[in-house]
């Protein structure tokens, strides 16, 4: 609402203007690096990530850049190998959440105000998603993994499912907003069917926010997976995964041996920040 004191805003920037190449480098570079590490994993690791190669609890040295953990595994190799696992979880989860979320969001957004069966179903789905979203993700993830198996596939799928309500909500909001505009337009235009307008304008307009949100979803999914790994209910040991590594190193950290926890922490932080930065840059350009 406008008050007497609101200053006039500058002309709104054009939507979805793609960012210039120069300013994208600091955002894209870490992502490319991460993807390279994930892809080339085994080739870059000096030691095997799952075999004991040295005495446990060695501080970082020239032989073991990140030191060794409580079992005698090389931390550097494990961090590198875990990149592949955690990134796969993030990517699959983001993809799954976006695809399903867009579908559900479109359905609820278009049907919520209708009467009859589709209307009630749509409203029920929205309410159900809100309640599902309220449950702690770690709790739901924990139970689902226990029920359906602890492997990379189920971990990715579960994390993806946990993120569906967020994407569905984003798309639904956008659909509701665009619908109001679409009706105005179709009232002005003549001979344009409402359905055609909705399909041609609404679909692309409503899904864009979900795509922008996908990189933020990636970060959240990786964090949840790391949390599950931390609890020891994620991928079975000795599969390298950042969360599990942080847990292994936790007791050592409380005794002052910081390296086996710190490096996976840093790797996790870099990944999450890099991907949410991507989302930030996109959002800022709108």
């Amino acid at each position: 609402m406008t008050t007497a004191t609101t200053p006039p805003t500058a002309a709104p920037a054009t939507r979805r203007r793609l960012p210039g190449s120069a300013s994208m480098v600091p955002v894209v570079a870490p992502l490319v690096l991460l993807l390279l590490v994930a892809a080339l994993g085994p080739l870059l690791a000096p030691y095997s990530p799952i075999d004991v190669v040295a005495a446990p609890d060695q501080p970082p040295s020239t032989q073991h850049w990140f030191g060794t953990d409580i079992y005698g595994l090389d931390v550097f190799s494990r961090v590198i190998a875990a990149t592949r696992n955690d990134l796969v979880v993030g990517l699959v989860a983001a993809l799954l959440a976006t695809v399903i979320g867009v579908g559900v969001g479109l359905f609820t957004g278009t049907n919520e105000s209708r009467g009859g069966v589709p209307g009630s179903v749509a409203r029920g789905v929205t309410r159900g998603l809100d309640l599902f979203d309220a449950l702690p993700q770690i709790v739901v993830g924990l139970v689902l993994l226990a029920f359906f198996g602890r492997n990379l596939l189920t971990l990715s799928v579960v994390c993806g499912l946990l993120m569906v309500p967020t994407q569905a909500r984003v798309v639904r909001t956008e659909v509701l907003r665009v619908r109001r505009e679409a009706y105005l337009e179709s009232a002005r235009l003549s001979g344009e069917s409402e359905r055609g307008l909705l399909l041609r304008h609404m679909l692309p307009n409503s899904t864009w926010p979900a795509l922008e949100n996908a990189s933020y979803i990636f970060g959240v999914a990786v964090t949840v997976a790391a949390g599950l790994g931390f609890l020891g209910v994620g991928l079975p040991p000795p599969t390298p995964e950042w969360g599990a590594m942080i847990a292994d190193g936790a007791t050592a950290a409380s005794a002052g041996r910081w390296w086996s926890s710190l490096f996976p922490c840093l790797a996790l932080a870099v990944t999450v920040i890099a991907f949410s930065n991507l989302a930030h840059q996109y959002l800022r350009r709108r």
Binding site: M1, T3, A4, T5, P7, P8, T9, A10
Partner: protein, 283 residues
Amino acid sequence: MPGDVGLRAANAVEVADLRVRYRTPDGWFTAVSDFSLTVSSGQRVAIVGESGSGKSSVCMALAGLLPLGAAVEATTARIIETDLTARPTRAIPYQVPGVSVVFQNAMNALDPVWTVGSQLGTAIRGRGATSRARARVLAGEWLERVGIRDPARVLRARPYELSGGMRQRVMIAIALCSQPELLIADEPTSALDVTLSVDLLELITSLTADLGTTLLMITHDIGLCRAYSDRVVVMHRGRVVEQGDTEQVLAAPSADYTAALLACAPSLGQLNDHRLTTMVGVS
């Protein structure tokens, strides 16, 4: 009370070279410049202009209600007893003592979750001189004074339970119950239909006359000024285009802009159906 008028300062408002600027991402934006105005106690002044003329910024500046991102500068800016230029800006503004404001839309101005009785009561008690019980009685009296026939029910009601006209009257009651020296009305009737507007303006002008309150009215409708103001100030793009006694200005406008406003604006004052004249940009 009418007898008090003589005891008040001769001039309620003395402003010279007022400038209001807002900080925006692209730098400073000047909303008002070279605004000067002197209003003697008890006068009724109308500030007229179209949207974007800066009239609302003036109004908020004089009431001391501008947000942190605004800068107010002036050679002189005395409102009742307060020197505006000497006031520090706060995140949440302080009231300029003796000044009350009435807004365009009571639905936005009234607090949605408190009852009318609670809002009116706290306004009456002000800094704490009156007791709660006495304030409740006074609240009922004030509601009757603004023309509400069932004060007991309205006191218990919340703003969204009332009609638009009643809400506006409640807002006037709250603004005037502290018996301010100056009432600033920011487009008080722009959101109402014709009959309600006339009633409301009659109410405002008669109450302010009773209390000896100076009235500063912001409006985009130049026709209203004829009936409800002694002096008129015409603003355009942040500057004063013309000011003077209402009769003189409306009868013989010296600025082209004023003439154009008179010609094209349909208003309460004009009951003939002219065709609307288009306004070409006048600087």
